[in-house]
Amino acid sequence: MIMCDWTDAHALARDEGRPTVADEPAVLAPTDERDKMPRGGADATASSVLHIEHMSKTFPGTKALDDVSMDVAAGEIHALVGQNGSGKSTLIKVLAGYHQADHGTRVWLNGEQFDVTHVADARHSRLRFVHQDLGLFLELNAVDNLALRGEFLLDPVHRVRWNAQAELTRSLLARFDLDLDISRPLSEATPVQRTIVAIAAALAGWEGGPGLLVLDEPTAVLPPHDVERLLEIVERVRSRGTSILYVSHRLDEVFRIADRVTVLRGGKVIVTRPTTGLDAQQLAELMVGSEVDAGYRADVPVTVERPVVLKARGVHGRFLAGVDVDLHEGEILGVAGLPGSGRSELPYALVGAMKGATGTVELSDGVAMPLRKAQSLDIPIVPADRAREAALAEFSVAENISVSMLQRISSLGFVRRGAERKLVDRWMNTIEVTRGSERQPITTLSGGNQQKVVMARCLARDPSVLVLCEPTAGVDVGTRQAIFEFIADRARAGLSLIVSSSDTGDLLAMCTRVLVMCNGRVVRELVGDEITEQTLLNAMEETEQI
């Protein structure tokens, strides 16, 4: 074992009762060990599938990776965690040959050194990737996708033998117990089916054995009950002798499947250690570098006795079969439920952004508005899918903030530049996004900061009600808590919020009341102290069976 620093950290931690892994000695441990690290390739890689020494990657103005050394043992599931901007993606892109590492970087795969400092002309056959966007052709079916990544079976005159090809596809997918119509385009498949096809495609032509499969945020878009399915698949791949480098935001998954975890922060390896003896709180601390409370509760008072500010009646539509909502002043009302329960659809229906929705919604002024006209109530919504529904990628951060309230900063139809600048400055300050970045495209910001910008866009309209969907999706741990606190402060100041999230952590952290949905209806209501991880999960799963 090369990176035996974890033993030091672990022993040290034991002495102090619990692993205070963020403390200086533990953090310094890898550096000390690095000096003792064997320099030769053969020795160093005897037991490891992937061995990285001194990997650095410099971009203009920033060092994305700074002297990273790590290894992945044979048959190991190795988690790679870190906040946005910690260097995880860069590390993967270097391994994939998309970026070229700085000179001095040395990487061994299965004991053979391979060059990552030049443009990769031949990818290593024992190093496979499933990138976050999966890299599938959704217009094509599973047969085509697997054939494109693996091989086409040709007859002597170079026609594709489609029957044999389909048979091959079936046998490849059978390993993963995947029930999928392989003749239909993948756009019709569920996200988890697509992910499994992507894994099968990545492993095409590889009959198990030593090597490394890199999974980059494979569960980012999966609903909770599909995550379990995917994790089983990952275990299955490992049982065939393949090591896995598993990149994820979701810490519970790391504990669920990983043997060891490497924490990156600011492009440096903070620690590599086994997951046993570590808990989510400690891991989060390692990632963020300072205390964060994984069990954070915003502690907003329950306000069910205060006046109702939004009343929705008989909401019907796609996945919605008659929902009534009463939102009280200063309340953070959570909406929970499994995919297809109507949880993710309800927010869009309420703000009038769902086609064909029926029912009424009224604000405190007391005029009931049919949902198809509800857009005129001007209830702002932070959409679930930031890249597709919220961020205007070609717009600057400033333009992204001001876009939904241009009429207020315009006279005679022309935007007053001074008023816009003032508005943007104030909000940049409030959401604490770096000064001076307002002229940059929004895509230069981290996911967390982009989310804050979208929230600022909505809050700039000075609403009495705000609807949030998946408020912390793709947001790093540190910013996540900042968002919770920000929302809680707004609620204490009298803003009423509806929060729909597939992440129970969001609901636990902020909500004063939670509606649990199933089959398009509200089936449970949890208030105040009733909201716990257990009651939420029970309510969602119980109702599943009904």
Binding site: L392, E394, R408, F414, V433, T444, G448, N449, D489
Partner: protein, 369 residues
């Protein structure tokens, strides 16, 4: 006007991870203005402008006797005024990610309608022109109904309406150019009269360019049009009336095309049933090149004007140099590639290039639903 701002007591978010890239790129102190200026005049930002400069230098050396003269300069402006108007017509709908392929036929229609009413009904020229623009406006309404109400993809939808317009023109003119003594009188004045050798349409194009520049750059509606084009879903959820904007953008393009068509008929002193068609491709080429200039990634008036001049200057220069007939087309192709290549180089640098290059602009249309 009440401006809602966060109050002084607003609690700031307490725990934020600052983005490295943004921090590194954050402008610092006095160098900001300088750097912005350098960026503004870099070939990446205004590649077409540099190509135009090179073209002028090359032709000044090649045909020193005739090219670098004020007559040539005026000729370039005169011969490209209508192309510029046609290209400018496309700025608004394309900004909202909506194609208007029918504009060239709309140009033909407005010219023919105006000429027809002058010749057959003996209407006064202003009234006939008004009817011509009115006919164009009607086409805009039809386009709006097809694209926004019927939700037919704008590329196909306006191709279809364009085809229908051409069919109507052919039926209505029997495919014969409307020629008459009446069309050489006051009808031909506003398209042919000049100020010191610069014909009126040059000034119309200039006025349209200034109006579009102010509108797209400074008005709230302009900003919303860009937002609609960049991400219609996000725009809709940010409470922008996307459908209404797209509908209106088609009205704007049809109206400007109508004006261009009238000018064209006036300059020809005739209502030709195929007058507008040759403007289709040059206008699109110019407006797309224009989108990579000045306001990287955004369709804009001045970029379009520079692109029109870049292509027009070369064509005139080749004429003066008595180049062979195939030279003009070859030149257009080479120059388009050169201008986009110079601008497109920024794609190499990942961050800036995402929005600037023509590829990025086109990608948006490909992903349009």
């Amino acid at each position: 006007m009440t401006l809602q701002l966060p109050t002084e007591t607003d609690p700031p978010m307490t725990h934020s991870a600052q983005p490295k890239a943004a921090a590194a790129a954050a402008p610092q102190g006095a160098s900001v203005a300088g750097r912005r200026w350098v960026v503004a005049v870099s070939p990446r930002n205004i590649g077409a402008f540099y190509v135009l400069a090179i073209i002028i230098v090359v032709f000044s050396v090649w045909v020193p006797g005739t090219f670098p003269t004020s007559a040539t300069f005026k000729q370039i402006l005169d011969s490209n005024a209508i192309t510029a108007m046609a290209a400018l017509a496309l700025v608004v709908p394309l900004s909202a990610r909506t194609f208007d392929l029918s504009f060239a036929y709309t140009m033909t229609l407005s010219g023919c309608v105006a000429a027809h009413f002058v010749v057959s009904n003996h209407l006064s020229v202003p009234l006939a022109c008004l009817l011509g623009v009115g006919a164009a406006f009607v086409i805009g309404v039809i386009n709006g109904i097809v694209v926004v109400v019927m939700k037919i993809d704008s590329f196909i939808g306006t191709l279809a309406t364009g085809s229908l317009v051409q069919a109507f023109i052919t039926y209505f003119t029997s495919d014969i150019t409307i020629n008459d003594q009446r069309l050489t009188g006051s009808f031909s004045k506003f398209g042919q009269d000049d100020v010191n050798g610069i014909i009126y349409p040059v000034f119309y194009a200039l006025v349209i360019a200034i109006a579009l520049w102010l509108f797209m750059e400074y008005s709230a509606t302009g900003r919303r049009l860009y937002a609609t084009g960049f991400n219609p879903d996000a725009a809709r959820l940010a409470n922008i009336r996307v459908d209404r904007l797209r509908f209106c953008s088609l009205l704007v393009s049809a109206t400007i095309a109508g004006l261009a068509g009238i000018c064209l008929a006036s300059s020809l002193s005739a209502g030709s049933p195929s007058a507008g068609t040759p403007y289709l491709l040059p206008a699109f080429a110019s407006v797309f090149v224009g989108a990579t200039q000045f306001k990287s990634g955004r369709f804009n008036a001045w970029g379009t004007v520079v692109a029109v001049l870049m292509l027009g200057t070369g064509t005139i220069g080749l004429g003066l140099a008595s180049a062979p007939p195939w030279a003009a087309d070859m030149f257009t192709g080479v120059v388009l590639l050169a201008a986009l290549g110079a601008t497109g180089l920024q794609r190499r640098s990942l961050r800036a290039g995402r929005t600037g290059s023509l590829a990025a602009v086109l990608r948006r249309f490909r992903t349009a639903s």
